[in-house]
């Protein structure tokens, strides 16, 4: 009997909360991988924390642990009255495109995908521009004239990274050789560090002395093997320079934290539509900190910053693989 009444009480309070629908403020849904993934999600988490610390307000959050929770999580936050509801990761695009029209009063923010609805803010990144910059650095740091790229799953988005990178390399050294490998064609390719190591060793065997990994968990193996063999590597998404200080040349950073922070700061009045975060608005860039300061010379920095300024002003256009599925600097 006591157990039953406790249960009923709990159920009643849940019903009350749901019925009240008075929840205010933003909510964040972290993608599979979790908010401490040292990469994409953690960057979103940092942005949310920055907002919470600066404003003293709080936000609701949910970490997806299974694909099936995606739709449920979005719907529940919408039901409870949170706005804006921020989700990171392109996988949420499909459920969001169904749910968004059902809650026209609620604002949604999706990072890394475009959802065409009047109450959705879609934030996408110009990864090719950031990759171009780290490609320049790779070409300048390379002594052999051969640099590598290791992608995760072979999808257009990752080819976009590879293509931007190759253009950056060729801009500095037109004779450079670029070796591009993909880990696989299934989602397992994102989490196969052993394969990443093998691919890195194969590229080292072909003379590569800088390797750029855009491969999620697989990249851990790439960076590790590069460090073990005393060649340079380039991290991705968040700043991974600290993983192997002095051996990671730089990281191509996507400022997911800025995207989340800006959406939270704007609150329920957040502007909807497509927002492109590129070099021009500090959405992508290369990481420079105490861990790689010794690797980036003044000339390298000057050259890259000049190119970044040109990209920002529109003077230099980096080709985006996803627009026409071709790449001028690299054949896949």
């Amino acid at each position: 009997m006591t157990k039953l009444s406790t249960f009923l009480g709990a159920a009643a309070s849940v019903a009350l909360m749901a019925g009240a629908a008075l929840a205010e403020g933003p909510a964040v849904i972290f993608d599979l991988g979790g908010k401490f993934d040292k990469s994409f999600n953690e960057s979103a988490y940092n942005g949310a924390q920055r907002w919470a610390e600066e404003t003293g307000q709080s936000y609701a959050e949910f970490e997806l642990t299974a694909e099936a929770q995606r739709e449920q999580a979005i719907r529940r936050f919408a039901e409870q009255g949170y706005s804006p509801i921020i989700m990171v990761g392109f996988m949420s695009a499909t459920p969001l495109s169904q749910i968004a029209p059902e809650y026209p009063e609620t604002k949604f923010v999706i990072v890394d995908a475009v959802v065409d609805a009047p109450n959705v803010r879609s934030v996408v990144f110009n990864e090719h521009e950031g990759s171009y910059l780290v490609g320049m650095l790779a070409a300048m740091a390379s002594e052999s004239g051969t640099v590598g790229f290791i992608g995760g799953m072979d999808i257009p988005l990752i080819r976009k990274f590879a293509c931007g990178y190759a253009q950056g390399v060729k801009a500095v050294n037109p004779d450079a050789t670029i070796i591009a490998n993909f880990t696989g064609t299934t989602p397992a390719a994102w989490n196969d560090p052993a394969r990443g190591s093998e691919l890195t060793l194969a590229q080292i065997g072909q003379g590569a002395d800088v390797v750029y990994a855009a491969a999620g968990g697989t990249g851990v193996g790439v960076l590790q093997t590069a460090a073990d063999n005393d060649i340079l590597s380039i991290g991705v998404d968040s700043n991974q320079n600290y993983l192997h200080p002095g051996e990671v040349l730089t990281s191509m950073v996507k400022r997911v934290d800025n995207a989340v922070y800006e959406a939270m700061a704007a609150g329920a009045d957040v502007e909807t539509g497509v927002v492109v975060m590129g070099v021009a608005n500090d959405g992508v860039g290369y990481a420079l900190d105490e861990h790689n300061a010794s690797l980036i010379t003044e000339e390298m920095k000057a050259a890259v910053d000049a190119a970044a300024a040109q990209i920002a002003s529109g003077e230099l256009v980096v080709h985006d693989y996803m627009t026409d599925e071709t790449c001028p600097a690299l054949t896949f």
Binding site: G34, P193, A202, G205
Partner: protein, 323 residues
């Protein structure tokens, strides 16, 4: 194709093949005793996580290996309990183990290390390092054999050599000992073994335990033997299933398992070098084609084009003693 490239390819082949080989032999012992084991993948994954986690915590790769093996043995015991004692469906039990392993490793890793379901990266003191075999440098100048010995055979971690040694050992145990004879008999005709007064259940548990041991070593190799340095979620990435394909390809025989795994490893090594095809044949081979080859070959074997692959006769059937 130049000589260095060939050496690099073979070196990579050996490294890639050895976890496959260990898992394949694990499946061999289990299936020869009549217990199908889809759960190779899960056992490797749990071992990979525990090995990396404990190697990090204790600073010793050997302790990590022991705990990894213990974890794989525990899952083996679960599989044995479900499929031998309770006569459950072996495939379902195996699939359940894979799901359990995929979930548990990430949840526990997150709880212990707070790095999104990873273990921290291991430094070289707490992982198995590559060892140079004796005389490697002395023999190197000898033409052909010298570089092969120095670069392909030498310079692997101890676990790679353990995998290679496991092949003759498995052959000897299965085909030259009384235990091996009984184990094979239990997979073909358990009733006969039972009639001879030997416990079917005990033999099958022994086979499943050997499978756990081998999977444990395979998992530890994936996460703690150079070039690896830590655990990442789902890092076995289907190797357990490739090992099963290799097992069918090898028609449940230890030496053939070695060649099958080396072949599959060679395909994977080749997949990392699309430039070879371009240079040799001026041909761009999609890497997906190469990664599909092991499965294509397995299907061909299964379809009976290249001899027939006949599994142990009592495989997959729980043994019920007649009354």
């Amino acid at each position: 194709m130049d000589w260095t490239t060939i050496l690099l390819l073979l070196d990579s082949t050996l490294r890639t093949a050895s976890p496959l080989l260990l898992a394949c032999l694990a499946g061999l012992f289990s299936e020869r005793a009549g217990i199908f084991d889809i759960g190779l993948e899960g056992k490797m994954l749990v071992s990979a996580f525990l090995a990396a986690g404990f190697a990090y915590a204790t600073g010793s790769a050997w302790l990590g290996l022991l705990v990894g093996i213990a974890g794989a043995l525990l899952l083996s015991a679960v599989h044995g309990l479900a499929s031998i004692t309770f006569r459950g469906n072996q495939l379902i039990s195996g699939v359940a183990i894979n799901f359990l392993a995929a979930g548990l490793t990430v949840v526990i890793a997150e709880r212990w290390f707070r790095q999104g379901g990873r273990t921290p990266q291991l430094d070289s003191g707490s992982r198995f390092t590559e060892i140079t075999l004796p005389l490697a440098e002395t023999i190197r100048p000898v033409p052909v054999l010298g570089p092969i010995y120095a670069q392909v055979v030498s310079g692997h971690t101890i676990l790679v050599y353990a995998a290679l040694l496991a092949v003759p050992l498995s052959w000897w145990v299965l085909f030259r000992t009384r235990f091996g004879l009984r184990l094979r008999a239990v997979g073909e005709n358990p009733a006969a073994v039972d009639t001879a007064g030997v416990s079917v259940a005990r033999l099958r548990y022994a086979a499943v335990a050997i499978a756990g041991l081998l999977c444990g070593i395979a998992g530890a190799q994936l996460s703690t033997a150079e070039p690896a340095a830590g655990f990442v979620r789902d890092m076995t990435a289907g190797r357990g299933y490739i090992a099963l394909a290799a097992l069918i390809f090898a028609k449940w025989r230890p030496w053939a398992a070695l060649w099958a795994c080396l072949l599959f490893g060679f395909f994977q090594a080749l997949e990392a070098r699309p430039d070879i095809f371009v240079r040799l044949f001026d041909l761009r081979v999609p890497s997906a084609l190469l990664s599909a080859l092991p499965y294509v070959l397995t299907v061909i074997i299964l379809a009976g084009f290249v001899g027939r692959a006949i599994p142990p006769r009592a495989g997959g059937q729980p043994y019920v003693k007649e009354r």
